[in-house]
């Protein structure tokens, strides 16, 4: 996958591929290419979901002093 797409874009593309396949008008080569792309997108999305646990970061305090 070239420039990393967002999860949303990848999921949308996957759904579009599924729709095209379901319409059943694709040729064999095209269907196989679509399937490969779909699998790739599926793994990408899954990877995003299963990616290392989330992070909670503290932005350097905007106001550091404490109220008196």
């Amino acid at each position: 996958m070239s420039a990393e797409p967002t999860f949303e874009a990848a999921q949308r593309e996957l759904e579009q591929i599924v729709e095209r396949l379901e319409r059943g008008q694709t040729g064999l080569d095209e269907a196989i290419a679509l399937w490969e792309r779909g699998e790739e997108l599926y793994r990408f999305c899954l990877g995003k979901l299963d990616a290392a646990h989330g992070r909670i970061e503290e932005l350097a305090r905007v106001a550091t002093e404490t109220p008196t």
């Binding site: 599926y42 909670i56 350097a60 305090r61």
Partner: protein, 380 residues
């Protein structure tokens, strides 16, 4: 209590304690009054029994010390800050030990709440007229934000509710927390700064502004014009969860989505990872099904073609055979044999067919061919 002076020669002299006690008793008879002034030097400590501040006359600079039992002060939930105008209802009191005159407060009210409300209403109308609250401005929230900004106080509950909900629903979330003031006169500019700082993060896709419930005054910074404008101008969608359901600070109107609670805000900004897994799984199953169907169809088509291919030579042979049979039949029809079968005979003399009586003479041997064979004969 009777305060007696002592005699020093001709003078009557009071001890300091006796004097103070005397003045205290006299002061104690003064009526309870309202005093208006500006709060300065507010000292409020968790382990002190009393809250102290100085009430200053903004015009003349005159000062008056004020005390209030901490329990009573906290019960007001007024969250005073230095510089605020207040009305204090109390009675004067002399602190005997030091001879200081103080106002012992029974209650404190922020002055000009009505003015605040009117100003808020004016601001609301002005911003609405500018279109800051228009529905057309509301942006949809991202389905899966790369980074979520959270502007909150160190107010444990609101912050914890947002974070817990986000992490529970969507463990891979990345949240950047900007802790800041969420009440008092410094809150509005501090929140504006926090928003701006968060928006500098390249991956930020959405911001949550969360603050727990509080008094009308507590929530005032969230109606501050600077903050409302900053929320409206924020480059990414903003979700606000400020105060309780019934509170509607102006920043809620400018936000893209208003959440009723910090927990609801958390739910809005991230998807449920289990649902996403399920959706992805369904997509993948459909992907396989779709591909398999195409493969099956192509395989079927191939099989049909192959069958036609194998049948083709046999078919061609069959056609040739039929043609041959036809030719054979026609050939048969033309053959002399069938004529012989009808009773005709072929007569030869030597190797020549006898076509004329002139070609034979009596005594010539002849060969007669009939349908089932031949025999010799002689011309007479």
């Amino acid at each position: 209590m009777k305060i007696d002076p002592v005699e020093r020669g001709e003078r009557k002299v009071y001890s300091v304690a006796a004097f103070n006690r005397g003045v205290r008793d006299w002061v104690a008879r003064l009526p309870t009054v309202w005093v208006e002034g500006e709060v300065t030097e507010l000292r409020h400590h968790a382990n002190w029994q009393t809250v102290f501040f100085t009430l200053k006359d903004p015009a003349e600079g005159a000062c008056l010390a004020v005390t209030m039992p901490r329990g009573q002060f906290d019960a007001l939930r007024i969250d005073l800050a230095d510089g605020e105008r207040v009305h204090v209802f109390g009675r004067p009191e002399l602190f005997e030990q030091r001879g200081d005159l103080r106002l012992r407060a029974l209650t404190v009210e922020r002055f000009g709440l009505g003015d605040h409300l009117a100003a808020l209403e004016r601001l609301k109308r002005k911003l609405a007229a500018e279109g800051l609250f228009a529905a057309a401005r509301k942006r949809p929230l991202p389905r899966l934000p790369r980074a979520i900004g959270l502007v909150t106080g160190n107010d444990a509950a609101a912050k914890r509710d947002v974070l817990t909900t986000i992490v529970e629903r969507f463990p891979p979330a990345r949240v950047v927390v900007a802790e800041t003031y969420v009440q008092g006169p410094r809150a509005a500019p501090a929140i504006v700064d926090a928003l701006a700082a968060l928006c500098r993060l390249p991956e930020l896709d959405v911001v949550v502004v969360a603050r727990g419930g509080g008094s009308f005054e507590d929530l005032l910074p969230f109606s501050d014009e600077r903050l409302v404008r900053a929320v409206a101008a924020c480059p990414v969608p903003v979700v606000t969860a400020v105060g309780h359901e019934q509170d509607t600070p102006l920043c809620d109107l400018a936000a893209d989505v208003r959440a009723s609670t910090p927990t609801a805000a958390g739910r809005l900004v991230v998807p449920d990872v289990r649902e996403l897994h399920a959706t992805l799984g369904r997509s993948r199953a459909a992907l396989e099904r779709g591909t398999r169907r195409t493969l099956d169809r192509e395989r079927q088509r191939l099989a049909t073609t192959r069958e036609r291919l194998t049948r083709a030579p046999a078919l061609a042979l069959e056609r040739k055979r039929a043609a041959l049979n036809h030719a054979a039949a026609r050939l048969q029809a033309l053959s002399p044999r069938s004529t012989l079968e009808r009773g005709y005979a072929i007569v030869r003399s030597g190797d020549d067919l006898v076509r004329s009586s002139a070609t034979v003479a009596p005594g010539d041997p002849l060969r007669i061919e009939v349908a089932d064979g031949s025999f010799g004969a002689r011309v007479e």
